[in-house]
């Protein structure tokens, strides 16, 4: 058990270093912080809301992450395949699942760091008003889970191809689908001709439905279970894809 965590951690450390040894990490962090700030204070109506909360910030995250998370995750496996290093990695004494977990955890950690760097918005809100910091904390937990879910999907699409552009586009499309099934302009449209239970059943599959719970400060185990099971499923599928490549 200890040895298997050591291997996962070694792989994760290498992956994290790969982010920071290339410009990827810095470009990502700057763009994320610029865009999230921009959305929060302009479209989000941070000041016009007249309430001390981070809703303006969190509401935009599912859309911002839709592009940024696949960009951070697209290279995970496609790069290994393009360089041929997958052959090195998988002939070292580790199981494929350890490699998958290590790479996923490293990227997730990186995204969590990016999220954490948005702390000036939290400071601003606390300075201007008296927000419910419990709600903000649960909002961040939801945001981290959302990022992990998009990331796991990006892992899967990245394992499917050695072309990073294809991996990126596939991940965006899949994540967008997970948003749209619960996106109210669309579900309202569906509600015009479908029965309410169908609309509700479909929207249960949406990341938005489960993400919203966290933004209201409600930590529901079902929401948690949703995110964790999508992550687990996508990573499991990644394992299947990687095994199939090798089987030929």
């Amino acid at each position: 058990m200890k040895a298997s965590w050591a291997a996962i951690w070694t792989i994760a450390r290498r992956e994290l270093a790969a982010y920071f040894e290339s410009p990827v990490a810095y470009v990502f962090l700057v763009i994320f912080l610029l865009l999230s700030g921009f959305f929060t204070f302009t479209f989000g109506g941070f000041f016009e809301r007249g309430e001390a909360s981070l809703a303006a910030f969190f509401n935009w995250l599912p859309w911002l992450f839709l592009f940024l998370v696949p960009a951070a995750g697209m290279r995970l496996w496609s790069e290994e395949r393009r360089l041929g290093t997958i052959e090195l990695l998988l002939t070292m004494p580790v199981a494929a699942w350890q490699a998958i977990a290590g790479k996923f955890l490293a990227s997730w950690l990186f995204l969590v760091v990016a999220l954490a760097l948005s702390f000036p918005i939290v400071v601003t809100v606390n300075w201007l008003g008296d927000p419910d910091n419990g709600v903000i904390a649960s909002g961040y937990v939801g945001a981290a889970l959302l990022a992990g879910t998009y990331l796991a999907i990006s892992c899967l699409t990245s394992a499917l191809t050695r072309n990073q552009v294809i991996a990126f586009i596939l991940a965006v499309v899949l994540c967008l689908a997970l948003i749209l099934v619960g996106f109210s302009p669309l579900t309202d449209l569906l509600a015009r001709w479908a029965s309410p239970w169908l609309v509700e059943a479909v929207s249960k599959f949406s990341v938005l439905t489960h993400y919203d719970g966290f933004q209201k400060g409600v930590l529901d185990s079902r929401d948690l279970l949703y995110f964790l099971s999508v992550i687990a499923y996508a990573l499991f599928a990644t394992g299947v894809v990687i095994r199939n490549h090798r089987t030929g």
Partner: protein, 244 residues
Amino acid sequence: MIKVENLSKSFGSKLAVDGVSFEVGTGEVLGFLGPNGAGKSTTMRMITGFIPPSAGAVSVCGLDVQENPIEVKRRIGYLPEAAPSYTEMSVLSFLRFAAEMRGLRGEGRRSAIRRVVELCHLESVLGQTIDTLSKGFRHRTCLAQALIHDPEVLILDEPTDGLDPNQKHEVRTLIRKMGESKAIIFSTHILEEVEAACTRAIIIDRGRIVANGTPGELKARAPSGKLEDFFRSITRSDTVKEAA
């Protein structure tokens, strides 16, 4: 040490390796010869556990590769074809990563890195990003990775590819020296290399073993007494294969 029994691999309808069997013991260096596309790399990938065989079995140090993949991988050092590496890393951090993946920590890791850096002559480029290295250095960096845990078994897929004549000579000498205490399989296109470094050679063509013997025995089978003539008489080139 390495026992390959009736190993086969098919990709779709194409049979890449077809019932290959051989054994390599400690102290043996087996040269793996054959035209491009003959199934050399596929066979090596099956021995290292990277791809599973369609039929047959491989055991390394008495352990079945399919049943004990991790234990087998611990005992093997592998240089894949084209010597891939994480090009954005420096040579030193790449070797550290390889050492840690092999469970080496602290002083064990440091001395392992010192040993392979000396063996593969990487002193001058330790801090350099692999991206910026010449092909010869990249190749030796990947070779160093394969040697870092001083494995009992070495699988080297074209270890001298892309090296200049001096480097080729050094790698050959290194292989011969290591072969005294390890079981080594290496593939090559260069026939002199077989005579220079191998105790035994196997020629593989279209997935099947067509010859197996010491370099001297194989040479003797050609009327001219040259390994090259023998090789050409029993294998077919890509172009011939396509016409057939």
